[in-house]
């Protein structure tokens, strides 16, 4: 697995996202409630750009008239036909066995730690006080 240092954590505001070209693929990284999730920026249905997806809550209803919202902001609603995917693993909710968005492990490491490791890319200036987003592909 290649590790790619793509941005500072501060580059993506909470609730926002950013697209990175990694190995010829567009990968979109979302920042939700202090966590970062990376997915291929193409919906598996007809290819819509997921960077334009709505970040919504999971809405469930154990019985008519009772509604529960959970995991606020962690579900992606495709900008075109509205299919919903779990940001954590790319799984769809309506047909999890068959349809999935490719997702990538994301790691956050401090600049200090990065400086010690082998992945200090020259193109990424390192400030020890910052944290960096690393995607594994």
């Amino acid at each position: 697995m290649a590790r790619h240092i793509v941005a500072r954590t501060s580059d993506i505001p909470p609730g926002g996202n950013k697209v990175f070209g990694v190995d010829g693929r567009d990968i979109v990284v979302f920042h939700v409630n202090g966590e970062f999730f990376a997915l291929l920026n193409r919906c598996p249905h007809e290819g819509a750009p997921l960077e334009k997806a709505a970040c919504v809550a999971r809405l469930t209803s154990p019985e008519p008239g009772i509604y529960q919202r959970s995991r606020v902001g962690e579900l992606l609603r495709c900008p075109w036909h509205g299919w919903e995917f779990d940001m954590r693993n790319g799984q769809s909710y309506f047909d999890p066995k068959r349809v999935k968005v490719r997702s990538y492990p994301v790691a956050i490491e401090s600049g200090e730690k990065l400086q010690k490791g082998p992945y200090v890319a020259e193109t990424f200036p390192v400030h020890v006080e910052d944290s960096y987003i690393i995607i594994e592909t």
Binding site: D26, R42, P44, E46, W80, G82, R98, K100
Partner: protein, 370 residues
Amino acid sequence: MSDVIDRPILAEEEAAKSRLRIIDCDVHPSIHAHGDLDQFLSKRWQEHLRTYGSHLRTPYIGTTPYPRSSPLIARRDAWPPTGGPPGSDLDFMRKQHLDPLNVEYGILQVLDLFIFSQQNLEFGAAIQRAINDWQLAFWSDRDPRLKASILAGQDDTQFAIAEIERCAKIGRYVQINVCPRANEPLGRRRYWPIYARAQELGLPLGIHVGGYGGHAPTGGGWPSYYVEEHQSNAHTMAAQLTSLVLEGVPERFPDLKIVFIEGGFGWIPSATWRMDRHFEAFRSEVPHLKRRPSEYVKEHFWFTTQPIDEPDEGKHLRSLIEWVGADRLLFSSDYPHWDFDDPRYAFKTPLSETERRKIFNGNARALYKL
């Protein structure tokens, strides 16, 4: 995990795209700014629009025919950077849709201002007329790929015919659009003068789903949810196809070409089989029909593809296409609406080269004489 897609656009897809230019039979332009229509509306109707606005046939106040699934039923990525609603900025439409998808022609379908759902027919006719002029001035004149349709609500047949005549003289419109949910089923005789004129002019009749009728959209009444109402588009189309065929419109106007737009096509086989069976039992009730309903369907009607049904098994879609006929289908994207179809991925079953040529281009070229 058979459907996990992990790929940038493949080189072959790029190549296929450039080989086949697409005729998109359902592109929705919108009015960018209030007042863009002013130049085409008389003072009388400008003031009416400002003072009274729309008075629709729907029985419920405060609902809009544009739900609800997505603001303005639009793709979330289709809002132009210049402001205004999706579909209202030609440059952005070119950049996002016409150029990258290699659209050779796009047939415009305007839904703004609930054109066909106005209870005040005179006001309805005024905005239809204004929008007909606006389609040329703001779209076709600026991008010759975009072809306009003559909007002519049929509930006042006289207005409709006058507007059809006026536009036909201009000579740049490729189709006559009537209301999908008029006051009576579309086969009724009160509408026949319009069909007669369309036949004489050689312009196809376009019927695009949507709008607000005075009747409930389903035979069971008014649905609770958008998802129900959206589903009802297919029933409404099936009802109108049945009415047109059984009341004898294609029998009476054999050269009239009728296009159902945005109704999909999955419902056609069963609707037609049922008509055929019933026709065998009850033909004495409709002796004006000389042939089986399916024969009229296969010769006089065309269907745009979106929204394409997506059965779990691709082979079922395959059978649908074969039954309806590749020569009856016209590709449509429905850009910029939320259920947009991307021509590269919309058909979840392989098409032969001949089928692709017909569906994506050839059928529409012949039908609209492009």
